[in-house]
Every structure is written in C-alpha cells, then in structure tokens.
C-alpha cells in the first residue's frame, strides 16, 4: 500500500485493496469496527486485516471467540444501534453456523419492523476452492443468499472492485455480503487512491464480443477472459461480463449482451444445480431476450459433489480455462 504513488501507477493486491478500504472507512467514520476470528494480531486467516489492529487498536479490530452465530448476531445488534460492523467469517463455509442471524434477523429486520430499523452490517466471506482444504473449507455458497430478500450479495473480481464494493457496502444502509475469492487475495491490479464507491448491482462488460456472452464473476471472470483470448485465436468472439452482484442481478447489462450475441453461457464455481447460473439462465429465458437466443443457455458450474481433497479431483470439480473454452466452442458451434 503506497498512498503517495500517483494514481495511475498504484497497484495493490486484492487483499491490500480490501484492507485499504477498511482503513479509509475507519479513519473517516469512528463507528466502523471490524469483528472476526483472529483478525487482530494474527492478521486474519488470509492476512486481509493484517496490521489494522496496530493502527486502530483492539477495540475496533475485535477478535471474537469461535462463535459464528453469536458473533454475527453481535454485529447485527451493533448495526441496529449505531455501529457499522464489518464482520469477517474466517471461511464462508462457517457462515452456515450463522444463517439464522444473517437470514432470519439481518435480512428481515427492516421489513419485519415496517421500515423502522436499519441493519448496516457488512459480512466478508472468503470463498471458493483451490487451496486443498477440502469439503468444509472450499464451498461457494453465495447462491443461497441470492435467494434472500433484504440482503445484497457482491462478488468482486478485481482489487479495484474489492475496494470500491467494500466502501459501497459500508455506505449502504442494509446488510451486504461480500464473497471474496481466496485465490484472488494475492492478485495485483490497479486500485485508485482515496475513497470511491463501486455501484452495487451493476455488472460490467469486461470484454466485447459478438458470438457468445459469457457471464462470470469472481475468479471465474479471469478464467473466462483467458478462455475468450484463446477462443479469439480460433475466430470465436466472446463477450465477457463480470457479474459482480448476485443480489440484485443486473438484468439489463446481461440482456443487452444476449440480444447482441444470441448465445449465453454462465460460468460459476458453486454447485451447478440451483447455482448462480440457474438464476441468470432463468432470468434470460423468461425475458424478451428469449427470442434472440440462437442456442440453449449453457451453465458451467461446480460438480455435483462436495469439494474433494485430492488436487486433481479438486481442479476437476470446478470450471477451468480449458473447460470454459471447450464449452463455449460447443455452444457457438451448436454442439450442445
């Protein structure tokens, strides 16, 4: 992190970008606090909070006991009463212990109280496979939260977005969940200095193309872009959209692209069935863009299995550049 460097040269890792966002918010607003397991001296399991405890002290960078339900609930209660907590689940898998506070309380309180309450809490959730940590530490469960009115659910793919989304989440009066991909933490990229907000609910065209629309978020964006590069070499022009937000989903950006290319493929790491691709596919299939479709809508999601330990099995259980490439090729050549 180098706040002095000129804006256009600033390159940070995804983890650094998130940390910078937290630091900016904490400097600007004394009600912002961090909570989570081992986010203090340990610096977080993925070293995202790193040294923030040295800058802001243990009252604002709070190590919680290993109590996910209670911890999340404390964050909800604090958010209801004047604080803006950023709560880190050590792995997104552990949010399963806190579903009740996230879904029954945080997401519903404003509604149940007829608009008389606000729960401005941000949940950060390191997600995804690829670390050899097996079935209970590698899940991609973001689709569940897409099913929950009251929440906003984001998935940054770049350091720039990781920072801007966290700042946007903090500025939002409602609960926001940010799924960060573990394999992206070390990824470097340009990050503007200072404070800026990445709009919640907006997808982004990352690569223009004409033959097929590939919608992908988080780490799958990078694999899709790499696949698109390879496909270009064989004359297939793929348009790649960074999903960014799972709730709300940016219908317009996706539909506009589908109307243009006539072909849609959704790539995601979570289990294929009932995953992010199901919603996007269904959304397109029920829209007017349906009439523009020249081919079935293809979903490339995770295997119908828990994430396996063996590294080759693990790789095989989620979309990779080569499988994306092959699938796009089949779709464009209509061999589905």
């Amino acid at each position: 992190m180098n706040a002095q460097a000129p804006t256009d040269l600033r390159t940070l890792s995804y983890a650094e970008a998130i940390r910078e966002a937290m630091a900016i918010a904490m400097e600007a607003d004394p009600t912002v606090i961090l909570m989570g397991e081992d986010i203090g001296v340990y610096g977080g399991a993925f070293q995202v909070t790193l040294d923030l405890i040295d800058r802001f002290g243990p009252d604002r960078v709070m190590d919680t006991p290993i109590s996910e339900l209670g911890g999340a609930g404390v964050a909800v209660g604090a958010a209801l009463t004047g604080l803006k907590p950023i709560f880190e689940f050590q792995f997104s898998d552990f949010a399963m212990l806190a579903m009740e506070q996230i879904v029954n309380q945080a997401a519903k309180l404003r509604y149940m109280l007829g608009g008389e309450a606000s729960v401005p809490v941000v949940f950060r959730l390191p997600a995804g496979s690829g670390t050899g940590a097996a079935a209970q530490h590698s899940q991609s469960i973001e689709a569940w939260f897409g099913h929950v009115p009251g929440l906003k659910v984001l998935q940054p793919a770049t350091p720039e977005d990781a920072k801007g989304m966290l700042l946007a989440a903090l500025a939002d009066p409602d609960p926001v969940m940010i799924f960060e991909h573990k394999l992206l933490y070390k990824m470097k990229g340009h990050v503007p200095a200072g404070s800026y907000l990445t709009p919640i609910g907006k997808a982004l065209l990352r690569r223009a193309g004409t033959d097929v629309t590939i919608v992908a978020g988080s780490i799958m964006l990078h694999r899709a872009l790499e696949a698109a590069e390879k496909l270009a070499a064989e004359g297939i022009s793929a348009e790649v959209i960074d999903l960014r937000s799972i709730r709300p989903i940016d219908h317009e950006t996706i539909l506009a692209s589908v109307r243009k290319t006539g072909r849609l493929m959704v790539v995601y790491e979570g289990v294929k069935a009932f995953g992010v691709g199901a919603e996007i596919s269904a959304m397109v299939a029920e829209s007017d863009a349906f009439d523009y479709l020249d081919a079935p809508i293809l979903r490339l999601g995770g295997a119908d299995a828990p994430v396996p330990y063996n590294p080759d099995l693990e790789r095989a259980s989620v979309p990779q550049v080569d499988t994306i490439e092959a699938a796009a090729r089949r779709l464009v050549r209509r061999e589905v």
């Binding site: 404390v74 209801l80 009463t81």
Partner: protein, 332 residues
Amino acid sequence: MTLPDNRPFAIRHFAPAALREALKKMYLIRRFEEGAEDSYMRGLIHGTMHLSIGQEASAMATCMELTDNDKITSTHRGHGHCIAKGAEVGRMFAEFFGKETGYCHGRGGSMHIADVKTGNLGANGIVGGGLPIAVGAALSAKRLGKSDVTVCFFGDGANNEGAFHEALNMAAVWKLPVIFVCENNGYGMSTSTARSTAVTHIADRAAAYAMPGVTVDGNDFSAVAFAMHTAIARARAGEGPSLVENLTYRWRGHSKSDRNRYRSKDEIEDWMTRDPIARFRAELIAHGILDEAGAEAVAAEAIADVQAGIEFARSSTAPSISEVTRYVYAEV
C-alpha cells in the same frame, strides 16, 4: 439514629407516582393480553399469539429503572415487555390487526412488535434470536461511550440454544453492559426445564460465564426490581453483564394450539393464587401508596386504554397490497 427501613425495596426506592404507573402498566399488560385473546376469538387477528398473563411483574419490574435510551430485546412472548418499556397499546393492537398504523406497519405482527423510540429493539420469532443482538446493542453503548444498558429477555427454553452460550460468553469476555433476564416459567412450550435443562436453575449457568447470577421470585415485583437494580448498577459502572432469573408462570397455553397435556390443572391453579398483579396491588395499598379506590381507578384506566386501543386499531387502514415489497430495502 433512624430506624432501618424494612419496607420492600420497590416501595423504598421508587416514587409513588412511578409505583402507581407500574401498577397501571401491569394492568395494561393483563388487559392487552385478554383483549388480544378476545380479538382472536372474534376473528380480528390471524396467526398465532403467545400471551404473558401471569408474568406481568417480571416484565414491569425488570423495566422500572430503564430509560428510553436503554434497550431491550424481547421474545415471542413479548407484549408485556413492550408495554413495560413504554409502547402504546393502540399501535400494538394495530400491528396485531395487521394495520398500517401498527408499530411495524402491519408487516410484523405479534412476534415482531418493536418500538425503537422507547428502546425496544423488538420481539423475536426465533427462540434465542435476541440474545446476541442484545450483546451487540451493549457493544454499541460501550463503543459509543454511552451509559445505556441493554436488557435481554429470554425464556427458560431459550437457555438451551447455542446462542445463549455464545452471547453470554462474549458479553462477559468484553464486560458489556447487558443484563440477561430469564423468564423461567417452567416450560419451553411443553418441555419442562427438568426434561430439557441439565441444571435446576438457569442462573446456575451464570458461573460458566463468570458473571453474577441470581434466581428470584418473578411474581414478586420488589424482588425482581431489586435484582435488576443491582445488575443495572453493575452494568452502568462498567463491571459487565449479569444474569437474573425470574421464576414465574404463564397462565395460558403456550399458544393457541396448546392442548395443555403437559401440566396439571392443580399446578396452574396453584400458580394463579400467586397473581403478581394482585400481590403488587396489595403491597402498594399496604404501604399507603394507593388506597382501594385509587387502585380501582388505575385498573379502570387500563381497561379504558385497551378499549381505546382496540378501537384505534379496528378503525385504522390496512396496508395496500401493492406495497408488499416495500421496506425490504431502505428507500432511496
């Protein structure tokens, strides 16, 4: 040398007007619950309800020293807490009747009534749901440098939820200004504490969190008020949380669907002889705070308030079904 004041704590400690107001609210709670029951019979209310008749001293005495800045979290059996903390029965009935004038604009109903202005963060449909939320509210007070306390109501049944354990532990480790008030009415739905809970008293569990725990007769206004006085002083002094267990009883079934197969008529009748309102009223009269006529006037006021409340609720308009998704997110 003055003689020691041997009167009950509440009589010594609170001004007569406050005591009169407390009696009034206890009547209000009782009449509110009866009004709810009656409205249900008349088909004015759909859904379920959990009545707190018999537990009025616990609700009222717990809230005696709380200001509007102090917070409470409540439960599915929350009407009493809500009234004790200062809510208007008219807006409560309106919520119950699903009206736009209700505390939740008709979206929440009995299990979600809240009154954020008087510090009531809301009833909760999830047993134990309020426990960590209360700890969060206490954390806010501490971090924001306020002297407010949070009172967390929960039932004996809730004490077996993991949330209880996690919440009490964090409150203790962080020395937060929160008081956990267990209304032990002997049963979680049909399951007695003996069949559900490894210890006899919920307060026996306070030691596992190195916090003071006390069990009191929850139908004795003064006993509850004194336990709360001590716990609130401790919390405001920054010394951390406490657990107060009020032994009490619900006269009615758990909810409307209760066939009452798990407790005896004798047990219920025995508890009804220990009516917390009658006891408090007698105490106020015995110590000259009120006379019979004064007490009758208080009781009559409560009846009038409840009648007016029901009238207000009935005549209020319902939300428009075009607004079914309103309030899901903040309006921008």
